[in-house]
């Protein structure tokens, strides 16, 4: 099948991308509202937890779902269009996941256990539908081995992540963690963060990088043996980190961080080679974000390792979560999304036989993406400094700056989305004058 016939209906990835852009704004706004509780955050429901999950589930996993449905279809030629009766499973996943995330985040902000439980149930159901679709593609494809291996590992982490998340929600009501042989609540929450940030989302992002980075840079496919080494080291690190976090074993956590760092170092060396050998050297604003994300990735592991051994120093635990989620994953994904959205829009225009605008002219990029990059970078520095120095005012200013950047990114997303909607409206008018 050709790339054009592999395009899935435009509204499916678009609904995930627009929802992600909205949650991105919500996450920064919630961080701003909860600024006084960030530096000393030690768990529990409220605005800080809501901000964190607006970003992880609302922006990051939402983007990954929309991108995975479209990219895997194009890259493997295997359709994401699994049907359940009259309904497409990918659509079902969006109907469960998007309102589920809204409910869960609202429940966390409000401390409402029923809303959290119901929202969490919907989110997990949506993720199961997602896992069924992409698991089916992973099972049927023989190509893209590096991406598929990372994908399988990410799905395994997703199962543990979902179970830990639901247990943590139930524990808000029943408070059973820490009794008999069960782990302490804080330890389970820490392992949940590791499974989400480095396991599920981290592995998906690293795996898709083996398709996307060579595609944008016009570079040869990376060496599979090296990507296998990177994955093996990262999985060893994760396999050690999760039980170590549950048991509160500091030494094992430090060792896991060192192994994880080695795996990430191999991954980053592969990516460096891809860019060096790529035909395309001028990669624009999106790769400023991608490269910044790559700097934050090893930094987050290093800070995570230090947070395990010296949690009282410089508010390292909340700094670790902030650098992992807002620094590494959000920075990288907004960099990739700003390339994917215009790329897909252009493909849909060609599919309809309409003249596609230039990629760089879509979504007022001259304003929106520059503004996002500047505000995002400033917000990362301000909030990090605020957490380390315990200065709430810096976190407040950082949160506002991040919100402004996220609003600019939403403006870009809606601008590009309006273009593709316009192409189809024009096509419909032409067919039914």
């Amino acid at each position: 099948m050709g790339a054009q016939s592999r395009l899935i209906p435009y509204h499916l990835p678009l609904r995930f991308f627009v929802a992600a852009a909205l949650f991105h704004v919500a996450a920064w706004l919630l961080l701003t509202v909860g600024h006084a509780d960030i530096a000393g955050y030690a768990g529990g429901p409220g605005i800080v937890l809501a901000s964190l999950h607006a970003l992880t589930l609302g922006a990051l996993a939402m983007t990954a779902m929309g991108a995975a449905y479209q990219l895997l279809n194009v890259a493997t030629g295997i359709t994401t269009g699994l049907a359940m009766g009259r309904f497409d499973v990918a659509s079902i996943s969006s109907w469960l996941y998007i309102p589920g995330t809204v409910l869960l985040v609202a429940g966390m902000a409000d401390g409402n256990n029923t809303a959290m439980l119901l929202g969490g149930g919907l989110v997990v159901s949506g993720l199961i539908a997602f896992a069924v679709i992409i698991g089916n593609i992973f099972y049927r494809t023989v190509a893209l081995k590096a991406t598929m291996r990372h994908g399988w590992a990410a799905l395994v982490c997703m199962v543990f992540l979902a179970v830990a998340g639901l247990v943590l929600i139930v524990d808000f009501e029943l408070g059973f963690l820490g009794t008999s042989a069960l782990p302490e609540r804080a330890d389970l929450a820490f392992s949940h963060a590791i499974l989400g940030g480095f396991g599920f989302m981290g592995l998906l992002v690293l795996g898709f990088s083996y398709i996307l980075i060579p595609m944008f840079a016009l570079s040869p496919a990376p060496n599979e043996r090296q990507s296998g080494l990177s994955l093996s080291l990262i999985l060893c690190g994760l396999a050690l980190a999760v039980p170590a976090a549950l048991a509160g074993n500091k030494l094992a956590l430090l060792l896991a961080a060192a192994i994880g760092l080695a795996g990430v170092a191999v991954h980053l060396m592969i990516m460096r080679k891809v860019l060096r050998e790529g035909m395309k050297k001028r990669l624009g604003m999106s790769f400023v974000m991608v490269r910044s994300g790559w700097i934050a990735l090893p930094l987050s592991i290093g800070i995570g390792g230090l947070a395990a051994v010296a949690p009282e120093t410089f508010n390292l635990p909340p700094l670790f979560i902030f650098i992992l989620i807002f620094g590494w994953l959000l920075t990288f994904l907004t960099g990739i999304l700003q390339r994917i959205l215009p790329f897909l829009t252009s493909m849909h225009a060609h599919k309809l036989g309409q003249r596609a605008p230039r990629l760089s002219e879509m979504g007022d990029q001259g304003i929106t993406l520059k503004m996002h990059a500047v505000c995002h970078g400033g917000a990362l520095l301000l909030v990090s400094a605020g957490i380390v120095g315990d200065v709430d005012a810096l976190i407040l200013i950082g949160g506002l700056t991040g919100s402004l950047g996220a609003a600019a990114f939403l403006w870009f997303t809606i601008g590009v989305g309006k273009l593709v909607v316009g192409f189809y409206a024009k096509d419909k008018r032409a067919q039914h004058p």
Partner: protein, 168 residues
């Protein structure tokens, strides 16, 4: 992108590399000079670059595009891959007039250089051409050439390589 086993795919890939390389240089030069005022007349480096751009783009639209459309697209079309080819043909149709215009503008500038208005138009045209051509090459490298590499028989590969050499 992959390592191609067929000679014609490797040749087309090398063509792509040469085109991207010269268009990257063009983008860099345009941004360095800026849109507002034209470059100094008879700038030797820029003159050489513009001559390269004109030569590469002329070869691209008369040799490379035409060869793909006449000899390669029909092979892929026989497999029912009409969707991908519709995109690639549409992009050729978009890029051709841009490449023609930039070649003519460069030739005209040899004698008298650029007026500020001509330079502004050339600046916009150059950036648009670089972006559209690179995006087109990305698609050919990711979808078209890997597929062609799979379906071509060795004897067809040799004949196509000879035909391509003759068209240039």
């Amino acid at each position: 992108m992959m390592d191609y086993s067929r000679a014609i795919c490797r040749t087309l890939h090398e063509d792509h590399m040469a085109t991207v390389r010269v268009l990257e240089k063009l983008e860099t030069a345009l941004i360095k000079v800026g849109r507002k005022s034209p470059p100094a007349p008879q700038d030797p480096d820029l003159s050489r670059l513009l001559r390269d751009v004109a030569a590469v783009m002329q070869s691209e639209i008369t040799g490379h595009f035409a060869f793909e459309e006449d000899h390669l697209f029909p092979l892929v079309e026989e497999m029912g891959e009409t969707g991908m080819l519709a995109i690639l043909r549409d992009e050729h149709a978009t890029i051709r007039p841009l490449a023609q215009r930039i070649t003519e503008t460069i030739r005209a500038s040899h004698a008298n250089g650029f007026t500020p208005d001509e330079w502004a138009g050339f600046y916009d045209l150059g950036l648009e051409l670089a972006e559209r051509e690179t995006f087109h090459i990305q698609k050919e490298e990711m979808g078209f050439l890997p597929l062609l590499d799979q379906i071509l028989e060795p004897e067809d590969d040799g004949a196509l390589s000879i035909t391509f050499a003759e068209t240039r």
